[in-house]
């Protein structure tokens, strides 16, 4: 990324009261284990994150790192085991919370566009119902006008051609656009998008990401973009922030340009090196800076570093405790940074 692209506004710390604030979120799922005790799976551990007004924040990590769980806590689908969630400075608790429901200010776009639409209802019915529910006094004409407006915004024209169809009659890209229309129909201030393009054809991905970018700029909505793919993340977030997650913890958070150019956490370094680049002349080292490819366990977590087992630079002290460190560009969950190389993994500017 070129440095002149960076505007200081978005990459820097968000405004006085962030739109959404997560403080020390813990999420523990109980699973039936032996007959004596249930197994407890520590999916999120002490996660704190601020999401500013009009900001795009990306959550990146391997499958099982807890990024989708965190997304569901932000949308209110899950209630965290412990920790606090603030929306606009007010504390909220979870599903059917009055403060959130009276505004419908957080919406969700799911990965599988086919599963996210009711298969036996037409697109029109799927779009109509939420608008009607939250605008009881609107006439059918007003709602129809609103739907038309939404369809224009997401670029599905002429709208009549799509509204009468059932989900299986549309292509994946079209369905994903419908999901976006539904998410913005209640004019939320924050949208959580969970891998919205991973099931979409490559040639259409960028147009969907462009659409999200446009909604972010035009309508001023904040986005939480959840993905395992750093390339699309870089495209959508541009000057936004990225939070790299590993085993339920945020290991590095900072401006996405800085994190990709100068990754500091050993896990982030491995992750960036593993991303394939669409250029055969530009290939990094095949051997990743990792001890093993085995993901750690989410059970019986101690106080030490979760990445200890796979870290090339780990010392004995890493098993005892872990503390976040602020560098000049990012916040990194590693107390051993002086031993981790700080050179760029790739020359991003080519």
């Amino acid at each position: 990324m070129c440095p002149d692209e960076q505007t200081p506004v978005q990459g820097a710390a968000p405004a006085a009261v962030p739109l959404m604030q997560l403080k020390n979120i813990n999420m523990i799922f109980k699973k039936p284990g032996s007959f004596l005790a249930d197994r407890s799976i520590h999916v999120l551990k002490d996660v704190s994150l601020d999401i500013g007004e009009r900001e795009i924040v990306a959550l990146v990590g391997e499958s099982g790192c807890g990024k989708t769980t965190l997304g569901k806590i932000i949308t209110g689908l899950y209630r965290p085991t412990s920790g606090e969630v603030y929306f606009n400075g007010e504390r909220v608790s979870g599903t059917f919370d009055k403060k959130l429901s009276s505004y419908n200010q957080v919406q969700f776009i799911q990965q599988d566009s086919y599963a996210a639409l009711n298969p036996v209802r037409t697109i029109y019915q799927s779009l109509y119902a939420p608008i009607k529910t939250h605008n009881r006094k609107w006439t059918r004409k007003q709602i129809d006008a609103r739907i038309e407006e939404l369809m224009e915004l997401i670029g599905l024209q002429p709208s009549a051609q799509f509204l009468t169809k059932y989900p299986h009659q549309l292509s994946g890209g079209q369905r994903q656009r419908i999901l976006m229309a539904r998410a913005i129909s209640l004019e939320p201030r924050l949208i959580v998008a969970d891998e919205p393009v991973s099931m979409i054809d490559v040639s259409l991905r960028l147009s969907l990401l462009n659409l999200m970018k446009e909604l972010n700029e035009k309508l001023g909505m904040s986005f939480v973009y959840i993905s395992h793919d750093l390339s699309t993340t870089r495209y959508i977030a541009r000057n936004g922030r990225v939070a790299v997650m590993y085993l339920g913890e945020i290991v590095e958070v900072g401006n996405i340009g800085d994190v990709i150019a100068k990754p500091r956490h050993p896990y982030t370094r491995a992750l960036i090196q593993a991303v394939p680049v669409p250029d055969p002349e530009f290939q990094g080292n095949d051997e990743l800076p990792l001890k093993s490819m085995q993901l750690g366990s989410l059970e019986n977590r101690g106080d030490g570093c979760a990445f200890y087992e796979r870290c090339l630079y780990a010392k004995d002290q890493c098993r005892q405790k872990i503390q976040a460190v602020r560098t000049d560009t990012a916040e990194v969950l590693c107390c051993n940074l002086e031993n981790v190389p700080s050179t760029p993994v790739y020359d991003i500017r080519k």
Binding site: S63, V202, N210, D229, I272
Partner: protein, 341 residues
């Protein structure tokens, strides 16, 4: 037979039909290309481009009711005395096919979950397949072979052999599938989106492993993927498919360097990357072709930024060049001498 010794398999004018009740879908139309021996060839395409159908035709695993309607498929395998002999795959009887499949050409599927039998342990599955093809091995021989294979793909053989598929993680399952594909020492492995469901770190491990197998054991590979970055990192040769047609074929370095074909150029430009300038990346306008309602002329013409009048009336021929590269476009390597006629 000189030219054939370079190739492990060859498709000549292959078309594959899906006859349905009311109409017939032509999933693959007139594809001609070769797989180089000992190399990794990638087929890139979006969903519905026909890449999986084409590759499955090599081991007659096309999903029902697909049929090879036209063309010839040849496999140039080594016989017992080390010579190379042609096998017409499309003419084999079902019985011959069963012997050919897996011992000459094996496959790693996209969904390892559904490819492995959920009620058999890994040991039972390996043993069943080995017995079906080479029944004469003793128990100790088999066990030693399984262990060697699983250790080769860096798995804990003791544990994995006794496990059921659901007890393994996604990355482990895919490595078991790779070991399974190597079981009968094939000459070619077909890889159908082997890492689609996996995260980038596991993907990197799997491809590093596959490349090692290719280089150390000399096994040729045919990789099907929608991700052109994986091709850039991993493959030696590549074919680009669109709407059932082969649009471009050449060595990976050449295809990426010149970007002659407008679809390939669009595809590379539409792939986000963690390097380079974001503003250079842009989507291909329009939507993928509907196989039941293909456009007149070149099927890419409605989305092509270089589309001219001739493109909308007649389908362009495949232009072939001396270095082996070819492309289906009127303006492909314009000005150079076409060797196809």
């Amino acid at each position: 037979m000189c030219e054939h010794s370079d190739n492990i398999a060859q498709f000549r004018g292959v078309s594959i039909d899906y006859p349905l009740k009311k109409y017939t879908i032509r999933a693959v139309t007139d594809v001609t290309f070769s797989l180089r021996r000992g190399q990794i060839t990638a087929l890139v395409g979006e969903s519905g481009s026909g890449k999986t159908t084409l590759a499955s035709s090599l081991i007659r695993c096309i999903s029902e009711p697909g049929r090879v309607a036209e063309g010839e498929i040849s496999f140039y395998g080594r016989t017992a005395d080390g010579k190379i002999a042609e096998t017409r795959v499309d003419l084999l009887t079902d019985k011959e096919m069963r012997a050919f499949r897996w011992s000459k050409v094996s496959m790693v599927f996209q969904a390892a979950q559904s490819a492995l039998n959920p009620v058999l342990t890994v040991r039972e599955q390996f043993s069943e397949t080995l017995d079906a093809h080479e029944p004469k091995h003793s128990k100790e021989e088999k066990e030693a072979r399984f262990r060697a294979l699983l250790e080769y793909v860096k798995l804990d053989a003791e544990r994995v052999l006794a496990s059921y598929p659901h007890e393994l993680s996604g990355g482990m399952k895919q490595r078991v599938m790779i070991a399974f594909a190597l079981l009968l020492d094939p000459e070619l492995i077909i890889l159908d989106e082997p890492t689609t469901a996996l995260d980038v770190i596991t993907q990197n491990y799997i491809f590093t492993l596959l490349k090692k197998i290719n280089r150390e054991r000399g096994i040729s590979m045919l990789l099907m993927t929608h991700d052109i970055s994986v091709v850039a990192k991993f493959a030696d040769y590549m074919g680009v498919m669109y709407g059932g047609r082969l649009m471009e074929y050449g060595s990976v370095a050449e295809v990426f360097r010149h970007r002659y074909h407008p679809y390939t150029r669009g595809l590379i430009g539409a792939t986000p990357s963690i390097i380079g300038d974001i503003s250079d990346m842009k989507p291909i306008e329009g939507s993928p072709p509907d196989l039941l309602n293909l456009p007149e002329g070149c099927i890419f013409s409605p989305r092509c930024p270089q589309c001219r009048a001739i493109c909308m009336t007649q389908e362009p021929p495949m232009r072939e060049f001396a270095d082996g590269g070819k492309g289906k476009c009127y303006f492909y390597r314009e000005g150079e001498a076409d060797v196809s006629r």
